[in-house]
Amino acid sequence: MNDEITNNPLADPDQIIHAPARLNIMTQLYVVESADYIFLKNLTGLTGGNLSAHAAKLGEAGYLEIEKSIVNKKTHTVAKLTKAGRKAFEAYRGKMMEVLEKK
């Protein structure tokens, strides 16, 4: 019984990525090199506050590199997946596909 739980890929998903909003951010950033917050807001449908909060959490986990700069007296934030972030996303995706494609 314990072995079954241990072997179940759903038993221990990466909780940082598992949240829908963060999974959305990770997915959008995985297919590009980098994107600013305005582009991410448009693609994910998240509000500015939500995006900042979830991106900060991903940043704390070392999955996201966030660069802030001032452009025309306004803050401009660009987000980019780190190598660790890409690896973690690939691992998470692999786990989920393993679960969903099992017959």
Partner: protein, 211 residues
């Protein structure tokens, strides 16, 4: 909120938003076709070579103006994105294919004007080879763009642009009329979509929420 882990769709959506949402490309193509409507008139006035040079300069100027407009519109409304090496490579290959097909099409037009294809009527009927090649090339290029990025309106644009050449031969009207009609329809579509884009994507600061 879209939470599907579908990387192809995400990549396509990113590229579509960054490249086609503002529809400046539509307006650029539409206005270029409207201008091409004048081609027979200016050719009569300027001669073939000067006319070709004139159009080369003017069409490039239109492309420059629209790329400037895109740079002004895009960053504050849809944001800025950098694509990875794989996407850049695909765009580069697509550009090469487009350039090769366009060069082939132009070459056939030149060779045909010099009488290099005299015996095509047996299998092309009343149509000259350059017309048939142009229709096929334009349908492949514009249709390929529509299919690759899921921009449905480009199927219509492809048909409109490709149809200009046979219609020029078929209709007993001024030669530029099909270009005027196609350019008018594409410019109108582009203007309507641009109005929708400006409404849907207001200029945003990072802290502001969109509509």
């Amino acid at each position: 909120m879209n939470t599907r882990i579908d990387l192809k769709s995400s990549e396509k959506a990113s590229y579509k938003l960054a490249t086609f949402a503002d529809c400046t490309a539509d307006l650029m193509v539409g206005l270029s076709l409207l201008l091409l409507d004048l081609f027979p008139l200016t050719r009569a006035a300027l001669g073939a070579t000067c006319n070709a040079l004139f159009f080369l300069v003017v069409l490039n100027a239109i492309a420059f103006v629209f790329s400037w407009v895109r740079k002004k519109l895009g960053p504050s409304r849809i944001g800025v994105v950098k694509f990875g090496a794989l996407v850049k490579k695909r765009v580069w290959i697509s550009g090469l294919i487009t350039a090769a097909l366009s060069a082939g099409m132009i070459l056939i037009w030149i060779l045909s004007s010099r009488g290099q294809f005299p015996n095509t009527s047996a299998w092309l009927g009343d149509y000259s080879i350059e017309i048939v090649v142009s229709v096929i090339v334009l349908m492949i290029l514009v249709g390929g763009l529509a299919y690759t990025f899921g921009v449905q309106r480009y199927y219509l644009f492809g048909i409109l642009i490709a149809a200009c050449f046979p219609l020029q031969q078929l209709l007993p009207v001024y030669e530029g009329t099909p270009f005027l009609a196609a350019g008018g329809i594409i410019t109108l579509c582009g203007s309507v979509i641009l109005a929708g884009f400006l409404k849907e994507y207001p200029p945003l600061d990072e802290g502001q929420e969109g509509n």
